[in-house]
Symmetry: C2
Subunit: 558 residues, 2 copies
């Protein structure tokens, strides 16, 4: 008899297992916020649920509550949130997590998988509520907040659960080992194999994608038998808090200790560091900047660290037979969520001699100008601009835009402008800056400039651009690279370069897919093979080392 | 069409895949050195092949040959080997390894798997030759050298290849991603997924099991698309050299660059360190002591390190209904290869109040004395003793035996004696030392005393012994622990302790299986979850992170 919740969600699991095996298009969680899918009242209910959380304490009933509360979030939309969270002693959270693990181990892989699937189904029902929380804390536009914050994040979580299930399902619970002894009776042993989680997992979220980048590690760790402490970014606590509360409710309903999943809200970096280095913490999932990421890798010797850090994503343009669609595709990529995505291209490498296109030869300067114009055209309707750009999430990003606008990092092709969002007059809205520079200006374009700052980089020729791409991936890392070319040899050379440097390649994107988008079950997010990330969403390596197998054996009569 | 060598070895692969899924008894490589299996002349041929290698240069035709040759091996059997190996510049080996990788990637997972299986089949045919090399370099007895050195090592290699194949086979080479767009035509993309090895692999062997502990990492790395540099222990080069030469021959036959697999013989620790920290080296497999192992983990930031280090294996004795068979089983375990195994028990934890047995109550002192007598009895026939004990592999082990004999670490229950091996009069043969001490004497028994030095440790009671076991695994690590008890509650408590501390447990071994034996395809060697090893032979985690998936995608017409 499988666990009741596994039986209830078997179709969902089977779909996910099939999807990770074939990697075609599949998504069980609709990305359209449609009443037909989510229910006629879902949009209103979700908005009200979100609003009901504002201006008051968020209750979690966690152990170690110090009585202190913090309300750290500042909305990029300028909306007052005033949600306060309990500060819990991190040692108490670790102790409670450890205490909750043996029962979670005893549920077994089937039970854990079923319960994780139930959690995801519940989160899916909260898609609107969580989307509003994502939008208001991150500054994403509504449609992105809904899609990336809810169904796409749920897809990524389900993907991790499917990988975790597949790997755990390979470990037989027991076996009879019967070794022939010639004419004598065989030696017979009974062996049992127990899947045991490595230990308490710490999942550190980022400020821009508080669910999409948190769910994979959270669910990978949970499904493989570990307790999880979620440490959200201080400016994007609410989406994580709603998630943790739902997970705790599902655990409690199943008669399990809800302290298996807790939220650690702290304004002290030292608390996060103490947690990450705690002897009981055996894995750390992190999305964020290089400085803290490298600190984690260097210092958390007791834990497996799965880190998604910064990189310098880029695109090589050699030639195209779809000049306008290419520019349109790039304009969208550079504008979406004001390029506050770890997958957005920062550098566009163009040969000094220009490029061949279906509209004739274009000089380097023409490419720069045409791309600038394409961005301007794409953002010319204020309602489109506000929906696509969202708002600027952090003061640091704002400062980078100012510096780019000043011309400090290159010739300004298109300056960033301040827009007003009529719906949210206090929102911080900026259009992208486009700069032109030379490949020698490495200090300018070869450092991650998170946010809407892009460079068109003049390279000697296409071969030099491909070589520069490989160098940048190896040196600074990248989650995505792209190439535009009508020539097979160029695409082959770029492909070979990405094999060596280990980065995902998008070729000649001109339609409704963008280099900064990665689809669960099909696109690996990060290869784990270059400095931008040491793991991928999701593959076997993302889950296989989160549990260990402990065996016992004894003689039995043959 | 599958690769010809995959087709040729499909049955072997299918058997291994089935075995890792069910973990029952299975072995394709016969552990009996029988003429019926290996051929009537195999034993003589193998001995002659081994002898023909002695007293001359071993040729490998590797790049970077400096012209310098070293002959570092001293046989524990006192036999002059005088095999000299070329010293190759390690930078040249790395460069050649990198150059060989793209073609190995292009062969694909199927081809790589087929070629690895061919390599193992060839090595199996060399079982006698390699067994002699293992025996003469490590001091193992003949039967162990044959079994552990050849078929069992080949089994472990095959196991790694099977895991590597299974994980790689989950990655589809390509897919068509077709996303519905309501009434509009779907968005269709073609995606390709390339399995790419992480980079050059370094496999550092140990002096006692130069094939059994080397093959898993070597074949896991190779099968997943990496070049491998084997750095053998300076006293056990020959088994690795024969292996590498065979692998290079198979590669050359397949039209591949033989420099995909090379041997790095060096007497400089600094060369090994430089190799391990080389930017192109992306994985390090290591078997050996804690000092260098921890150095590797701390310093090789650019590489995944798979380390099997030292531990303090131990056994809790609570009670038994088979006192004599228990003592016999322990006597064998403590004697086999003079306990120069990373799986041999070092500490036997016995309650101060003694134990209940089928022969009545036995006091602590009686257990000590009876175990000492059982060892003495087991080794009373010189031919048995020499066959089982083999010879002492290193001067350090000899020094530890002397120190134990002096009583420095506890009361001497049974002193080590010097034996003479009539066949090898210059062999260094010693019987085990058995010491008795108190659980408070942690400095004595809680440090790995590699070699035939065992402690019977007096514990307050069984509960204290189990607690001590858990503490030792958590603090010092262990590859194996055992328990003897007739009581279910004791076995359950010990089982729960091993789940928490993550170590394999053998229960009431009294027959033909010993705690220090681990069978490929069934027993996980190490859990990877305690300080004795950060990886296991073999599981998904042992292979899944040795390759990365690099994708590319582009629009196609629907």
């Amino acid at each position: 008899m499988p666990h009741a919740l596994l039986a209830a969600h078997q179709t969902l699991l089977d779909g996910a297992l099939s999807a990770i095996a074939t990697r075609g298009y599949w998504s069980p969680f609709s990305e359209m916020p449609s009443p037909k899918v989510y229910g006629e009242t879902a949009a209103d209910d979700g908005k009200r649920a979100f609003e009901s959380l504002l201006n008051q304490p968020f209750e979690l009933n966690q152990p170690g509550d110090t009585g202190q509360r913090v309300a750290p979030e500042q909305s990029p939309y300028g909306v007052a949130l005033n949600v306060s969270y309990p500060v819990c002693d991190h040692e108490a959270l670790v102790a409670a997590a450890q205490a909750a693990m043996p029962a979670w181990q005893a549920v077994g892989a089937e039970g854990r998988t079923g319960i994780c699937l139930e959690m995801l189904t519940r989160l899916n029902r909260q898609s609107f509520e969580i989307a509003h929380a994502v939008m208001m804390t991150t500054g994403q536009g509504w449609m992105m907040a809904f899609q990336a914050g809810s169904p796409h994040a749920q897809d990524r979580a389900l993907e991790a659960v499917a990988y975790a299930w597949r790997e755990q399902s390979f470990v037989p619970a027991e076996t009879t080992w019967e070794k022939p002894q010639g004419k004598n009776p065989p030696i017979v042993m009974k062996k049992h194999f127990e899947v045991v989680g490595r230990g308490v997992a710490l999942v550190i979220g980022c400020g821009t994608f508080p669910t999409w980048n948190t769910y994979p590690g959270l669910f990978a760790a949970l499904a493989t038998g570990n307790a999880v402490i979620v440490k959200p970014h201080s400016n994007a606590v609410l989406p994580a808090a709603i998630t943790v509360r739902t997970l705790r409710a599902v655990l409690a309903e199943q008669g399990l200790d809800p302290n298996l999943v807790t939220l650690c809200v702290t304004e002290q970096r030292s608390t996060t560091q103490a947690l990450a280095m705690h002897p009981a913490v055996k894995s750390v999932d992190f999305t964020g900047g290089n400085t803290f990421g490298q600190w984690l890798i260097a210092n958390c010797k007791q834990a497996q660290v799965y880190a998604e850090l910064a990189g310098v994503n880029h695109i090589v343009i050699d030639s195209t037979n779809a000049y306008k669609p290419m520019l349109g595709n790039l304009a969208f990529t550079l504008s979406l969520y004001s390029a506050q995505m770890c997958t957005t291209s920062q550098a566009i490498l163009v040969p000094a001699g220009g490029i061949a296109t279906d509209q004739g030869h274009k000089t380097f300067d023409e490419v720069c100008a045409d791309l600038g114009a394409a961005i301007q055209r794409f953002l010319s309707k204020p309602e489109v601009a506000c929906a696509v750009l969202g708002a600027i999430q952090s003061p640091d990003t704002l400062a980078r835009i100012e510096q780019a606008n000043s011309g400090a990092w290159g010739k300004v092709v298109l300056a960033s402008e301040t827009l007003t969002n009529p719906e949210f007059p206090a929102a911080t809205v900026r259009t992208p800056v486009l700069l032109a520079c030379d490949e020698a200006d490495v200090a300018a374009y070869q450092e991650e400039r998170f946010g809407p700052v892009a460079f068109v980089v003049k390279c000697a020729d296409t071969a030099a651009a491909i070589a520069l791409s490989e160098h940048m991936v190896n040196t600074h890392g990248a989650l995505t690279v792209g190439v535009y070319s009508t020539r097979t040899d160029v695409i082959d050379a770029m492909t070979a370069a990405t094999w060596r440097s280990k980065v995902a390649l998008s070729i000649n994107l001109t339609g409704g897919v963008f280099v900064n988008q990665s689809a669960a079950f099909s696109d690996y997010h990060g290869t784990g093979g270059n400095p931008a990330a040491n793991a991928s969403y999701a593959d076997s390596a993302f889950v296989a080392n989160r549990f260990r197998v402990v065996q016992r054996r004894y003689h039995v009569e043959s």
